[in-house]
């Protein structure tokens, strides 16, 4: 078997990139380019980029970020107007979407690919190639030993090869009759290393797919009200991926919110939030029920539906003197604090004339503050009450100017089109207020509402697989150890220098066999992370010695 002689020196680290010393460019733009590429794919550059990546992430956690909390960002900008102008321009309020952040991780991945692809080739070749030629002087290796054996070198080599299960071995015969066995194991280390790095690329790809093709819609649904279908304009808010135009979304409808329930611990802390919904999926899907809970989203049609938040929608009945009765009108009130003191507005546009609106606060467990305003003591509806200002007049919705459904357009109040006609606290015990024109408003109780989020991320499965491969690759590359073992089996008659030379500083100092038997010199080399190769080496040598002893008997 002819094999190229390979250096048995230790690699300058298995983790490192291809050995690419940066040479001075030898003229020409191509040489410059090549040099730049080498520099980029070198381990030093990768290290610098890793540090930059870590450093660049820091402001993303310390400064408020738009995708996480736009209100805090506005607050910060208001507090630090000068500084914020610079920070905002440089993308510091959305670090992880900033061009400079992208530049760092893209350069890192280019460097990674440039480093790993050549190693893939190298590794494939190494897997095909037999272990290297056995060096002449095994006692110069970090670990060495020797022992006498019976039988011809060829027999001893064959026995040793059998004993070295799990090792890749090659037996060679040299001109002087010496038989050598070169053994190597731990190829999985580099395999794992490559899996890890390629999985990182795959992970980035999966994330990118999600960013481009995913979307997220949020909708608030009140009990008993009709739900919505999966179409961009129907959501309260819709965040499409870069390549999503909002059409052709998966066929899916939330038919309604059947029931919303919070269960509590004895001490009043929430134990479970639960929204029972009816949905239909697919082209002509039958209505199906699902209990939506935290940690238990609905997964259907490539969509995930989450329960995001919940609250109360107080309900009123309005009777005008002319006999008009508007029953059970309600609107969701948005929570202001943990005890679910909530704020909102109920607007009556066409059902009564002039228009009416109720704006105020709802408290599930109501109490009066020192200043007379209402507050909530508990998120459980133990003592629900609603404190509202009643507005009459023109709500200003016909003007076409957008306004919040949770508040009254104050411009209408300032210009006199809308007047406060009552300011009352309504409870179960005293639910009704009579206005000056004889209209009565009766608090009827409340319904509950839930905010649901519909997510679609086609890259998520890829990301999960990539993550699994990352762990597998790490486990292999950090636990498997690359080892080489060399045997030089010298026949009895010729006992040349080499490993059994007395003058050489052989570790165990074993002399040439006095009986003129075959002598086996063993050398060991850890190609990565020497670790406990010394004990392992001793064990292997012990086993080899045993096999040769057995042959003698």
């Amino acid at each position: 078997m002819s094999t190229p002689v390979r250096d048995v020196d230790v690699d300058p680290g298995e983790l490192s990139t291809q050995p690419a010393p940066v040479e001075p460019p030898r003229g020409g733009p191509l040489a410059h380019l090549r040099n730049a590429w080498r520099r980029l794919t070198s381990m030093r550059t990768a290290l610098v980029l890793l540090f930059l990546l870590a450093l660049a992430s820091v402001p993303g956690s310390l400064l408020p970020q738009r995708p996480l909390n736009p209100i805090k960002v506005d607050q910060y900008i208001a507090d630090h107007p000068q500084l914020s102008r610079v920070l905002d321009a440089a993308g510091f309020f959305d670090v992880f979407a900033a061009p400079w952040f992208a530049a760092i991780y893209l350069l890192l991945f280019v460097s990674l690919v440039g480093c790993v692809v050549p190693r893939l080739k190298q590794h494939a070749l190494a897997m095909l190639r037999p272990p290297p030629i056995v060096p002449r002087r095994l006692d110069r290796l970090p670990m060495s030993d020797s022992y006498p054996a019976s039988g011809t070198p060829t027999e001893v080599a064959a026995a040793a090869t059998r004993a070295l299960r799990g090792w890749r071995t090659v037996t060679r015969t040299e001109d002087d009759g010496t038989v050598t066995v070169a053994a190597e194991k731990g190829y999985l280390r580099e395999t794992g290393n490559l899996i890890f790095h390629f999985a990182l690329v795959l992970l980035l790809g999966g994330i990118a797919v999600g960013r481009l093709l995913g979307y997220q819609g949020t909708v608030l649904i009140t009990e008993e009200d009709p739900g919505i279908c999966n179409a961009a304009p129907l959501y309260d808010s819709f965040r499409p991926g870069r390549l999503v135009d909002g059409s052709g979304l998966a066929e899916f409808c939330i038919d309604r919110l059947d029931d919303y329930t919070t269960t509590y611990e004895a001490d009043g802390t929430p134990a479970e939030f639960r929204a029972d919904i009816t949905y239909s999926a697919g082209a002509d899907g039958a209505p199906t029920q699902y209990p939506l809970r935290v940690n238990s989203p609905l997964r259907v049609e490539g969509l995930r539906v989450y329960l995001v938040s919940h609250g109360f929608a107080p309900q009123f009945t309005i009777r005008t003197p002319d006999g008009t009765e508007v029953r059970d009108v309600s609107a969701p009130f948005l929570p202001l604090d943990g005890a679910l003191l909530s704020e909102g507005a109920v607007k009556l546009l066409d059902t009564v004339d002039p228009q009416l609106a109720l704006f105020g606060l709802f408290a599930p467990t109501a109490a009066r503050s020192e200043d007379g305003t209402i507050r909530s003591l508990d998120s459980r509806p133990n003592l629900p009450a609603v404190a509202v200002e009643v507005y009459r007049g023109d709500l200003g919705l016909d003007s076409g100017a957008p306004q919040s459904v949770y508040a009254i357009d104050q411009r209408q109040v300032t210009n006199g089109a809308l007047k406060v006609v009552a300011n009352v606290l309504l409870t179960k015990q005293s639910p009704t207020v009579r206005l000056d024109d004889g209209t009565t408003i009766t608090y009827e109780g409340y319904r509950e509402w839930a905010t649901l989020q519909v997510n679609h991320d086609p890259g998520q499965t890829v990301v999960l697989w990539a993550a699994g491969a990352i762990v597998l690759g790490l486990l292999l590359s950090l636990s498997v150890r690359r080892r080489r073992l060399f045997l030089r089996i010298t026949p009895a008659s010729t006992a040349p220098g080499g490993s059994v030379d007395n003058s050489a500083p052989v570790d165990d100092g074993s002399p040439p066999d006095p009986d003129g038997r075959t002598v086996v010199a063993v050398g060991g080399l850890a190609r990565t992370d020497a670790g406990s190769y010394d004990t392992e080496f001793a064990r292997v040598v012990e086993r080899l010695r045993d096999t040769s002893e057995l042959r003698k008997d």
Binding site: M43, L47, S61, P297, L474, D534
Partner: protein, 336 residues
Amino acid sequence: MPVDASLATLSDQLFAWAIVVYSIALICYCGEYAFGRRGRVASTSPERALVTVGAGSTTGSTGTSAGAPAEPAPGRRRQADRFGRVAVAATALGLVIELASLTTRGLATDRWPWGNMMEFAAVVGAVGVLTFLGVLVKQPQVRYLGMFVLLPVVVLLFLGGTVLYSEPAPLVPALRSYWITIHVTTIAIGTGIFLVSSVATLLYLVRRRWELAVEAGRTPTRFPVTLGSRMPTTEVLDRMAYRTAAFGFPIYTFAIISGAIWAEAAWGRYWGWDPKETWAFITWVVYAAYLHARATAGWRGTAAARVNLIAFGTMVFNFFIVNMVVSGLHSYAGLT
């Protein structure tokens, strides 16, 4: 599920006892360090250690022989050994008490006992101690280094019992998932292992300065360089730091991934750059840099060691500062 008050009290008492027993162990380790190992300076040729480090710690002789100390006077040695044995026994006992404290806390609240910072600190401390005991099985000669491991553990538990203390209480709904077992356990294990790695790295840096001084023919007089005289060689310490980090890294990686899987179910996305997530990412990247640096010429040795310390620093920052100062979805510190 109401909290069982008597079990909760028992848990708190056990927690205090664990700190006491660990402190005893710490004192005994100090005793062993003080009484034993005198004179290892003379026997350990710094030239050899330096050469091996310079040639790359992946190779070279196994180092244990280089780390063998010259024997101090037999009387002192026996005394040191006695201290050491008591120390290890106390460490093990402290671990048992600490685990009992965690168990009773879990039973009192009917949940896994790592739902807030105090409990997490206790778990990390336990893992750190366990890792050190594991290292002892493989390398018994580093026993006297116990004081360097027990010191941060005792500090951590003390902080856990005081600054971070929180009454045993049930978890908020978002935390009621079997993923808390997987995610928080692996994070705690990773953190505990990295703690041991960073201790080894600190010792490495001290020892290295000591070796350089001796190499240059000077006698180190300044603390903490003087401590270096009784430490194992840089090679042993570097290997200990690397192997613990290499052991912890896949675990920490898995922990982050399990957190992402949980976040996907609980918060609707697997990754959202929540401050805690961001810092976990930073820690991961810096540990990745450490593993690479250790295999890169020019970074091996001191530079890589510094990277290891920075990585652990980001982890500490994530635990203390992000939990207590920066607000985010992971705000379960249990502090008010």
